[in-house]
């Protein structure tokens, strides 16, 4: 078994998602079955194969080096759940 209680807690922590015990149990089961299934990729010989990260065949064109003011802070803050004096507001970080 690749994923145990400790591993799922670690991944959940890295993902910043709180899981209750029932969810942890379910995800341990799901993730193990998915990881067992993707294991079949080990059958494929990938020696000397370059990893493909971008399928786009086009060359990235350069843009003109001019600054543009496209967003105002007001617009950016418009959807914020909490804001204060032109900033995003979050719970207190330091005492």
């Amino acid at each position: 078994m690749k994923i145990d209680k400790n591993t799922i807690n670690k991944i959940a922590r890295l993902s910043r998602i709180k899981l209750d015990d029932k969810e942890s149990e379910d995800y341990i089961k799901d993730l193990n079955s998915i990881l067992d299934w993707v294991e079949q990729l080990n059958e494929v010989n990938t020696e000397n194969v370059e990893p493909l990260s971008n399928i786009s065949s086009s060359i990235l064109p350069k843009r003109e080096d001019v600054s543009k003011d496209t967003n105002s802070s007001e617009e950016i803050l418009e959807n914020a759940p909490d804001k204060l004096e032109g900033f995003f507001a979050v719970p207190k970080v330091v005492e």
């Binding site: 993902s15 993730l31 494929v44 370059e50 064109p61 967003n71 719970p91």
Partner: protein, 474 residues
């Protein structure tokens, strides 16, 4: 009910046989009648009427002036909220317009509403939406069917004739599979043809916008409208967009079609193999050379996809932290607690599953074994297609391994659900254009789709083959 095509409607508007207002009122009426299908996450009659008022005051000529279009609720729109079918974006009102929807607005189209989808486009049945299932309009009474997914709302909107076209996005089959399930046309163009700017990101190396429509001609008109270079998307391609509609040519004489043997898989219903054979026979009669080809790494496409897509999703969805927009949990005694509770309460089960798996395959010690391995296999899959396209002009396969399945079919096994994408995922990994067109029915009279794949940026060939098959089927 005979459905008007976009092409016909444009002519009727031009000749003043019908006004923009009359046309849209007809669609508004149907949308209200079909509310039970749960096609739209956001629909406001007032908003539609306001758009009509504005168009009536506008004297300029526009290509899609007055045409009712439905928008998948993954595209940011200024005039309507955008949720990605997630609680975490429940109250999000974009302050900007996506590239694709801006193009449609510039051409004068009317947005009838924002359509339902699987949460963040993760699913194959439109059953992971925070806003409930969409029902396939082809369902019989008391036997609701899934519309496919993730763009199930858009496919259903076209199938129920609630619009003349709809936008979708396709990461591993999210346009083609629901098109097949709902009996409509759906095209996913080449990766990079349409800008992804303003589309909520799922898996950035795979996501691509596309179109649903009643027929291939309409799809060719609409795709041209949403394609084009955009410097705000670094993967957007600077290519000339041909006039797909003007160039449509159903004469395929002398072309070669590739038939990949790996797409004959055990357990595929006989009717699906049958329509595939029928389509090949039709092409043969039209003078198309039939070439048996091999795409040897096909069986590895799904496991490759289910490493790459969740990995990219875990990274893309890190932005939903309850700080900048959307939902924030009430239980926030510390910053970390705010993140963890917001994401626990804001994301649904499938989204969390994919974030967790993606985080795992990217984590220290596992990156090489999973993510890097998958990227290498992806290269082999793309190479298979490159090689095959040296011997053929286009490829045909079935779109999905089944017709629309019952809505209530228990989908507790994630891998079983993932198998819905078996025929669509390989082309996604290779970034190729693909279309699904209705081509035959199963024993329950449900539509089945044929998929046509083309070379990079050869959407014209894909449309030509599709229109040729469509005309011989009608």
């Amino acid at each position: 009910m005979s459905k008007s095509s976009l092409k016909q409607t444009l002519q009727d508007l031009e000749s003043k046989k019908i006004s923009i207002r009359e046309l849209n009122q007809d669609y508004l009426k149907r949308i209200k009648e079909k509310e039970n299908l749960n096609v739209f996450i956001h629909f406001s009659e007032e908003n539609v009427l306001k758009q009509i008022d504005n168009l009536e005051k506008d004297n300029s000529t526009k290509k899609l002036k007055g045409i009712p279009i439905a928008i998948k609720d993954l595209f940011c729109t200024k005039s309507m909220p955008t949720t990605a079918a997630s609680k975490i974006l429940e109250n999000f009102n974009p302050t900007y317009e996506s590239f694709v929807t801006q193009k449609l607005l510039d051409e004068g189209s009317v947005f009838v509403g924002k359509t339902n989808l699987d949460e963040f486009a993760m699913g194959s049945a439109t059953n992971t939406s925070f806003f409930g299932n969409t029902i396939n309009p082809l369902s019989k009474e008391n036997e609701p069917l899934a519309p496919g997914g993730s763009s199930g709302g858009s496919a259903a909107a076209v199938a129920a004739d609630l619009c003349l076209g709809a936008t979708g996005t396709d990461t591993g089959g999210s346009i083609r599979q629901p098109a097949s399930f709902c009996g409509v046309v759906g095209i996913k163009p080449t990766y990079g043809l349409c800008s992804r700017w303003g589309i909520a990101a799922f898996a950035s190396s795979l996501d691509q916008a596309g179109i649903f429509s009643h027929n291939v001609e309409d799809a060719s008109i609409l795709l041209q409208s949403i394609a084009g270079f955009d410097q705000r998307d670094s993967t957007s391609a600077k290519v000339d967009i041909p006039n797909y509609f003007e160039n449509l040519d159903d004469n395929l004489n002398g072309k070669t079609v590739g038939i990949p043997k790996e797409y004959s898989i055990d357990g595929t219903p006989i009717e699906i193999s049958q329509i595939w054979e029928d389509a090949i026979k039709v092409l043969e009669k039209k003078g198309v050379k039939i070439k048996n080809i091999s795409l040897p790494h096909t069986k590895y496409a799904l496991p490759t996809y289910y490493i790459i897509a969740p990995a990219e999703a875990s990274s893309n969805l890190a932005r939903y932290d309850g700080v900048k927009y959307g939902f924030r949990s009430d239980e926030i005694n510390s910053l970390d607690e705010m993140y963890e509770n917001t994401r626990a309460q804001g994301f649904g089960r499938e989204v969390k599953r994919r974030i967790l798996i993606g985080t795992y395959v990217l984590s220290a010690g596992y990156y090489d074994a999973y993510y890097l391995k998958a990227q290498k296999v992806r290269k082999l899959i793309a190479d298979d297609f490159n090689k095959a396209f040296k011997e053929c002009d286009f490829i045909i396969t079935p779109t999905a391994p089944s017709a629309a399945f019952p809505l209530n079919e228990k989908q507790n096994d994630p891998i079983k659900m993932y198998l819905n994408d078996v025929f669509t995922v390989p082309a996604s990994l290779a970034g190729l254009p693909g279309i699904s067109i209705p081509f035959g029915k199963d024993k329950n009279n449900l539509p089945l789709g044929i998929q046509i794949l083309g070379k990079h940026f050869d959407e014209q060939q894909v449309f030509n083959a599709a229109v040729s098959l469509e005309r011989s089927y009608e």
